[in-house]
C-alpha cells in the first residue's frame, strides 16, 4: 500500500489521532502555564526560590523524554500507563521555557523605568502588575511558543506509554517497518508544530511594544 492510499483509507483515524494530540498538548501547556507563570512571578521577589525552581526545571529538561516516560510509570498518582502520565511528563518539559522566559522577561526591564515606577510611589505589587508584566508579555509569549513546539514533538513519544495521539502511527510504523505509516503520524505532527509556531509568533509580535 502506498502512502497516499494509506492516508485516504485511514483519514478518519489520522484526524482523530491529530485531535487527540492537540488535546494532549493543550492540556499539558495549560497546566504548564498555570504553574510556570505564577512561579516565574514569585521568583522575581524571592531569590532563594529562584535557584531551586530554575534548577529543577533545568535538570528535568536534560532527562531524555523516553526515559522520563519510563521513570514515571511506576510512580503512584502521577504515573502509570496512559494519558495522565504523559501529561505529567509534558508539563514538566514545557515548564522550563515558560518559567525561564517569565523570569527573564520580568527582570529584563529597563532599570530607569523600574526606578521611575518606584519613585512615583508604586507598591511592589503595582510595579509587578502594571509595569513588569505588561512589558514582559512578548518575552513570556516567546517562552510559551518554544514550549508549544517542544510539547508537540515530545507528545509523539507519549504514545509509547499508551497516551494516544499522532505518535501511535509512528510507533506502529516502526513496528511494521512501514514508512507510510510513520509519515502518517510524523507529517501531521510537523505541520501542527509549524502552524502553532507561526500563529504564536504573530501574537508575540503584536505584544512587543518597544
Amino acid at each position: 500500500m502506498n502512502s497516499s492510499s494509506f492516508v485516504i483509507v485511514h483519514l478518519a483515524e489520522i484526524a482523530s489521532a491529530t485531535l487527540e494530540h492537540i488535546v494532549l498538548v493543550g492540556i499539558s501547556l495549560a497546566i504548564a502555564i498555570l504553574i510556570g507563570l505564577p512561579t516565574g512571578m514569585l521568583i522575581v521577589r524571592h531569590p532563594r526560590l529562584r535557584g531551586i525552581a530554575l534548577g529543577f526545571a533545568n535538570i528535568v529538561q536534560t532527562i531524555p523524554s523516553l526515559a522520563l516516560f519510563g521513570f514515571l510509570i511506576p510512580i503512584p498518582f502521577l504515573g502509570g500507563i496512559g494519558r495522565r502520565t504523559a501529561i505529567v511528563a509534558l508539563v514538566v518539559y514545557a515548564l522550563l521555557p515558560i518559567l525561564r522566559n517569565t523570569f527573564v522577561g520580568l527582570t529584563g526591564i529597563d532599570p530607569a523605568v523600574l526606578e521611575a515606577a518606584e519613585a512615583m510611589g508604586m507598591t511592589e505589587t503595582q510595579i509587578l502588575w502594571r509595569v513588569r508584566l505588561p512589558l514582559a508579555l512578548s518575552v513570556i509569549m516567546a517562552g510559551i511558543r518554544t514550549a508549544t513546539v517542544i510539547t508537540i514533538g515530545v507528545a509523539t513519544i507519549a504514545a509509547a506509554i499508551g497516551a494516544g495521539g499522532l505518535g501511535t502511527f509512528i510507533f506502529r510504523g516502526v513496528a511494521m517497518v512501514s514508512d507510510s505509516v510513520i509519515l502518517a503520524g510524523a507529517i501531521p505532527a510537523a505541520l501542527l508544530a509549524l502552524v502553532a509556531d507561526g500563529a504564536l509568533a504573530l501574537i508575540e509580535r503584536r505584544l512587543r511594544l518597544t
Binding site: A112, V113, A116, E118, A119, M120, G121, Q126, L209, T210
Partner: protein, 261 residues
C-alpha cells in the same frame, strides 16, 4: 491641590549628619557628614563630578535609599517614619532619559500618580491637559502618543509633566537634561528656569554642568567624594577659592563664564 497634604513648614527638607555606604563595601563611604537644610521654594543644585555622591543624596530624599547614619527630615518627619509610598507620591522625580513607561501613552504616563492617588477620571484628564500645556506640548497632538514616538526633548518634557502631575511640594531632578543635544538642552533649561520660578516648588537638581547650575539654581552645593565642599549662591560660587569650585569654574569657557556671572 490634594486635601490630604498637610501645611508645609518653612524648612522642607533637611539632612542631618547623613552618612551612606554600600552594604557590600562599608569601608567605602559614598556620603559623609551631609548637613543641609533646604527652605521651601528653593532650587538647590547639587553639583559634582561623576561618583561624587549626588545621585545617592537625591535618592535618600525619597527613600529609594535609606541612610546608614543620620536623619533626613521631609516636612517635619524623618523619612524612615514616612510610609515610603506616601512620601514618594508627594515628591516628583525626574531622571535622565525620563524613564517613561513605554507601554503607556503620554497621557497615561502623566496621569500615573493621580491615578495611583485615585483621582476621578475627569479631574485626571483635565490635570493631564494642564500639565502638558505647562511643559509646552499640545495635548491634542501628544496625549495619545507613546514614548517611542517622541523625540528626546519631548520625552523629557513628559517626564517633567509626570513629576508635577499630583502637585508635589518637592521635586527631585537627576540630570534631567543630560542626554539631550545642546540646542534642545538649552531650550529646556531656559523654559524650566522660568517654570521653576512660577511654581515655587522646593527643588533639588543634580548636575555636573556648572553652566546649568548657574542658570537654574538659587543655591549651589558642591560635592566632592561624598562631602559638601561648598554651599553658595550662584553669584558667590564663581568667586569661591576652594580648588574643586575653581576646577568647575575653569571648566566653563572664559567668555561664557563672564556672560553668566
Amino acid at each position: 491641590m490634594n486635601a490630604k497634604i498637610p501645611p508645609i513648614p518653612q524648612i522642607t527638607l533637611e539632612f542631618q549628619k547623613v552618612e551612606y555606604w554600600p552594604r557590600t563595601t562599608p569601608d567605602r563611604k559614598i556620603l559623609s557628614d551631609i548637613r543641609l537644610a533646604i527652605p521651601k521654594g528653593e532650587t538647590l543644585v547639587l553639583l559634582g563630578r561623576s561618583g561624587s555622591g549626588k545621585t545617592t543624596l537625591l535618592k535618600l530624599a525619597n527613600r529609594l535609599l535609606q541612610p546608614k547614619a543620620g536623619v533626613i527630615i521631609v516636612d517635619g518627619r524623618s523619612t524612615v517614619e514616612w510610609d515610603p509610598i506616601q512620601l514618594r507620591r508627594r515628591i516628583g522625580y525626574v531622571i535622565q532619559e525620563a524613564g517613561l513607561f513605554p507601554h503607556y501613552t503620554v497621557a497615561e504616563n502623566v496621569g500615573i500618580v493621580p491615578r495611583l492617588e485615585r483621582w476621578d477620571a475627569k479631574r485626571r484628564s483635565e490635570r493631564v491637559k494642564e500639565m502638558l500645556q505647562l511643559v509646552g506640548l499640545d495635548p491634542r497632538d501628544f496625549a495619545a502618543r507613546r514614548p517611542r514616538e517622541l523625540s528626546g526633548g519631548q520625552r523629557q518634557r513628559v517626564g517633567v509633566a509626570r513629576a508635577l502631575a499630583a502637585d508635589p511640594p518637592i521635586l527631585l531632578m537627576d540630570e534631567p537634561f543630560g542626554a539631550l543635544d545642546p540646542v534642545t538642552r538649552a531650550e529646556l533649561q531656559r523654559e524650566f528656569a522660568s517654570l521653576a520660578q512660577r511654581l515655587q516648588k522646593t527643588i533639588i537638581f543634580v548636575t555636573h554642568d556648572l553652566r546649568e547650575a548657574l542658570l537654574l539654581g538659587t543655591r549651589i552645593v558642591l560635592l566632592k567624594s561624598g562631602r559638601i565642599v561648598a554651599d553658595a549662591t550662584p553669584q558667590e560660587f564663581v568667586k569661591l577659592e576652594h580648588p574643586e569650585a575653581k576646577a568647575f569654574v575653569a571648566s566653563l569657557e572664559a567668555p561664557q563664564a563672564q556672560a553668566i556671572s
